[in-house]
Symmetry: C2
Subunit: 645 residues, 2 copies
């Protein structure tokens, strides 16, 4: 059973127990940081009382850290990991000895910034400013699933300077997420000194301006904290989310470090720690714990608890015939609507959710939106916030499709996608208007780096389907695949890509398989690897060359991560004349992947890389391709030179 | 002479002229977008009156677009390019025929989003939310140079949702940039519909909360606009910057498109355009202009007007002897302070400015700060804002050093750095705590992707010096090099890298040359390319191997962009056994570069790539390196296997 914040006051026993918990966990903060010789005691101690009250009364149980009805807690200022670990251990999430042994040691789960491999930690943080967005995601997930638990987001006051928080605040207000409670540790100090001097910020005015209810609370008074959490969770705000501004003292409880910015990130010496233990009336067991750390590091495994079995009827891709001329994004929109429609009546199906940033029409989400209006969320021009929300939803048994232009869903939000990946989240970031193919919107909108960005992220999958038919297959395939995913497409309408016999290359019987590159045109004189809009252009080049007796094999590299190492090696071995052809930065995309494989294997194939070699201008896609030597005629000429030369 | 906003009212002649200008420029907005068949007429027409009043009275002259005393105008909602081009041409910045011929056509300067290759455009925009930060940069530059011109930033209302604007607002307030005037085109519509529905935002409350003076203005009343600009530029705000919230109508002046979100990004048909011209009482010359476009595209050259001759005494790097054990960031701090000190008395020297995001101590800027307190700016935890400010300063005859951790200065701000690059800006982004070497802060803080990110940006230079001595050389070299630059370093102290004879490898007589890779250890059995902290480790490996009779050549690849293609090819040719060894994602860093060169040249050297192959954990750097097979012993073993194997 959970305690809850229903009573008007904590009992005298509660207060006594909290006082004792406070001493013990404060001592653990000192132990952890002094043992490691690094870490963040100051903010841990200023946030500690709020954590203790929250974990005592909130719907949180150490013996059921993954219960569906648990409250979700996101600690956005992830550097207060000592305070978080001390609190979680104190509430039975794990044995504190594990943290003593492993804190800030290679291979341990107990990192300097909290990670969700630790029981009780929902969301990895450390890059400031993202936690409130994660809280929005959890709060939205609760709404979608019809669950009545709460979401609590702890934040630092220095962190309040990050712009993304303004985005998250607006989103929570728009969607009336009154199941969301933020609490800010206003200790008035950040690394560089007084927060008011580093960057003056009127927290009350800013949160109020965004429509939140603001409560000012003594962050070290357990009764006051209890009352504030109670007030924040009573649901009498007319839908407004609540933020608690906690007046706190950095280093609280250890007088000789209180109010000193230095102890944001500096640890106590053994002598100082001894004095702290005296003050806290706890045993000085540093020697014992040092022996423990000498004996072993951490033993808790890096276990990621996420439901990866996505239940969803993905139906079958439609087949657009050879004479159809449409764009991949329309095929995406149709597939997405079909996913929504065919799973609408199934209680066990994971909710399919759509998120857009003021580009619903451009990314073709309208039909999906109309079909399931309660599953579509317009995040506004707030891509950082949207990317994190999508990530969080994916960890809560939801299939989120986040769609905008490639520039905004991948480039602008690269660090948010990176943290999603570290969180083992699995949002489907389906981005349109990629490459020079975005055309007249010009260089600021030409996303020519998504392959490179995706390849930096170890867990990310990246797909760029060749035409609308393949798009349909890819969207359905990724829907039930638990992995963070980028599906990239251009803007323009295009012909259906066909096989040599005139049939659609990615028709009904096509089986899209991640990591496998299908051949679209056979050929033994040269091989071109292409993806996305360039596949059709490569086919055109092969058709230009055929009458000249040059047989150009066209390989569809739509699966960019994972990619098809075997195919590259087979083509190198069997043909030996290779080209890459991409609507992407030539240095960092497909060409770099192919060259890497050849280098790793010491294969001396001839390779020519055709791609975008400078920022494009603003104009019609075909003109932009021509400007950069990327028209089918250019590819044909390059092949000719390699084959004949 | 400039007119200025000194009079209490515009004259009757002014108002008459403005009314006529309005008709002509509105017609140009229609002409441009209908000719191109794409573009953004709606917001162009809603912002147009503000632009016309600003350019008529502001310190702006078409015949002197680069005058030092001109007001700077940043149009953050860069999609209103038709309105901007029409206004600029009307004020003599160029012939409107050029825009007619070139708008949204490949190779032209007149892109869909404004670019600074167009006379009168200061700053490329298109990715929303960055313009106010650019305005902060221009306003700060004026302060630093002691110039009294104004900075005006036009913005859209949909754009107000972007978090970065909250950061810029705070910065302007903190530094009392009352030479900065923002004006927001509040037409109430964005692509997806009503702004109030897409994402409710209380603009007055938000700007007020950030300490700005807010004026509400009828955005189509020329007298009201004049008065508002006058009020905003009178300097009677107690240092507060001013924002004008302009009440406007999307599509203003063409009644049949007014108030319709569709015309954010849709153009008028020929018939609609004809009707618009009738309403505006201007000639319908679409046929003539179509003929012009058929005859020629743009002729205006892509000229970037930036002063690239950086005047600065860069002194000479110090030499840390072989037995010194320090970190690169200390050497950076010393070099930066020396740059400040030795140029302090020189009126002609470009100001050296430091920007930090709450990490002044960690990035070792303290001495610089103390030496020239008026040249150091603490931006708070607002890296997006800081990156853009640094970029803008660089275009104004200032040498900005922007320093924070790699994760925040490069990864978090990738899209800001990208736009800096497209702007031909040249900030020095000197980032510390890169790689696994950041240690206990864990995976969220391990910047293992800066080489890959830098290589995506065509103009970016990327350097990762091998030790404190080379850091000193690099910092002085980049100070007078006009290019956007990333200088990356780790966190840890390290031994001085030495040559085989024991002398410091990067001592007094070392000449750092971008694009050249010096050899640190000779050897003919194998070659390892390394950069940053891995160079010293590679030297250690070579010392482990020497007694075994294996001579490992160690090449310092500190210049990552530009890089040394000739060196790679020479090593492949002369030795043929190559390794790359990096504290960076193994797929996307130095190894990928070397493989790319081998692939391009069809060279079949044997290559092994050692690098970071998964996110690190939190622990001591040496432990983290060992975890990923990156200790010197691992390198030695890999070399042994290749040489003997």
């Amino acid at each position: 059973m959970y305690r809850g914040f229903e009573a008007s006051e904590p009992t005298a026993d509660d207060l006594k127990a909290l006082a004792q918990s406070r001493r013990n966990t404060a001592a653990d903060v000192i132990r952890l940081t002094t043992l490691a010789g690094s870490g963040h005691p100051g903010g841990s101690l200023s946030t500690l009382d709020a954590l203790l009250v929250l974990y005592r009364f909130g719907h949180l149980r150490g013996d059921a850290p993954h219960a569906a009805d648990r409250d979700r807690v996101v600690i956005s200022h992830g550097h207060i990991s000592p305070g978080v670990y001390a609190t979680l251990a104190h509430h039975g999430f794990f044995d504190i000895q594990e943290a003593y042994a492993g804190f800030r040691r290679a291979g341990s789960v107990f990192g300097g910034h909290i990670e969700s491999v630790v029981p009780g930690v929902e969301w990895n943080t450390g890059n400031l400013g993202q936690g409130l967005s994660a809280g929005c995601g959890y709060a939205l997930a609760a709404r979608i699933h019809g669950r009545d638990h709460r979401v609590f987001v702890g934040m630092g006051d220095g962190e309040q300077q990050k712009g993304q928080i303004a985005e998250a605040r607006r989103f929570a207000h728009k969607y009336k997420l009154d199941n969301l409670v933020a609490f800010v540790d206003v200790n008035g100090l950040q690394i560089g000194g007084d927060t008011a001097e580093i960057m003056p910020t009127d927290l009350d005015a800013e949160w109020s301006a965004a429509g939140w209810r603001v409560l000012h609370v003594d962050g070290h008074d357990h009764t006051a904290l209890y009352r504030a959490f109670r007030e924040a969770t009573r649901g009498e705000t007319g839908g407004r989310p609540t933020v608690l501004l906690l007046e706190t003292v950095m280093g609280k409880g250890i007088p000789f470090i209180e109010h000193q910015a230095k102890y944001h990130g500096s640890t106590l010496s053994d002598e100082q720690a001894a004095e702290a233990f005296r003050i806290l009336e706890v045993e000085n067991d540093l020697d014992v714990l040092r022996a423990l750390r000498a004996e072993r590091s951490a033993t808790l495994p890096h276990t990621v608890v996420v439901d990866r079995e996505i239940h969803l009827d993905t139906g079958a891709a439609a087949e657009r015939s050879a004479d159809v001329h449409t764009d991949c994004r329309s095929a995406y929109g149709e597939a997405l609507e079909d996913l929504a429609a065919r799973n609408a009546g199934d209680e066990a199906a994971w909710p399919v959710v759509g998120l857009s940033c003021d580009l619903e029409g451009s990314v073709k989400m309208n039909a999906f939106h109309a079909r399931t209006p309660d599953r579509f969320f317009e995040v506004g021009i707030q891509e950082h916030n949207a990317a994190v929300i999508a990530g969080t939803l994916s960890k809560e048994g939801i299939v989120p499709f986040f769609s905008t232009f490639g520039m905004f869903g991948v480039v602008e939000t690269y660090n948010q996608q990176r943290l999603n990946d570290q969180n083992h989240a699995a949002p489907k970031t389906v981005v349109t208007h990629c490459g020079l193919d975005v055309g007249e919107d010009g260089p600021t909108h030409q996303c020519i780096d998504y392959v490179a960005l995706g390849r930096n992220l170890f867990g990310m999958e990246v797909y760029a389907p060749a035409d609308p038919n393949e798009t349909d297959h890819v969207i359905r395939a990724v829907a039930t695949r638990y992995a963070p995913t980028i599906v990239a497409m251009g803007r323009s309408k295009m012909p259906t890509v066909t096989l040599g016999d005139g049939r659609p290359a990615f028709g009904r019987d096509y089986a899209f398989t991640p990591g496998q590159w299908p051949t679209v045109r056979e050929g033994t004189d040269a091989v071109v690897f292409a993806f996305g809009t360039m596949v059709g252009r490569a086919v055109k080049a092969s058709e230009l060359l055929a009458p000249e007796g040059i047989a150009l094999r066209v390989v569809n590299a739509s699966s960019l991560q994972p990619f098809d190492r075997e195919c590259i090696l087979a083509c190198a071995r069997d043909v030996g004349v290779l080209l890459t052809y991409e609507d992407h930065n030539v240095h960092t995309g497909l060409g770099a992947m192919v060259a890497g494989v050849l280098g790793d294997e010491g294969v001396a194939a001839r390779l020519q890389r055709l791609g975008v070699s400078r920022y494009g201008t603003s104009g019609k896609p075909d003109d932009l391709f021509a400007e950069q030597g990327l028209a089918p005629e250019h590819l044909a000429e390059a092949v000719r030179a390699m084959v004949r030369g």
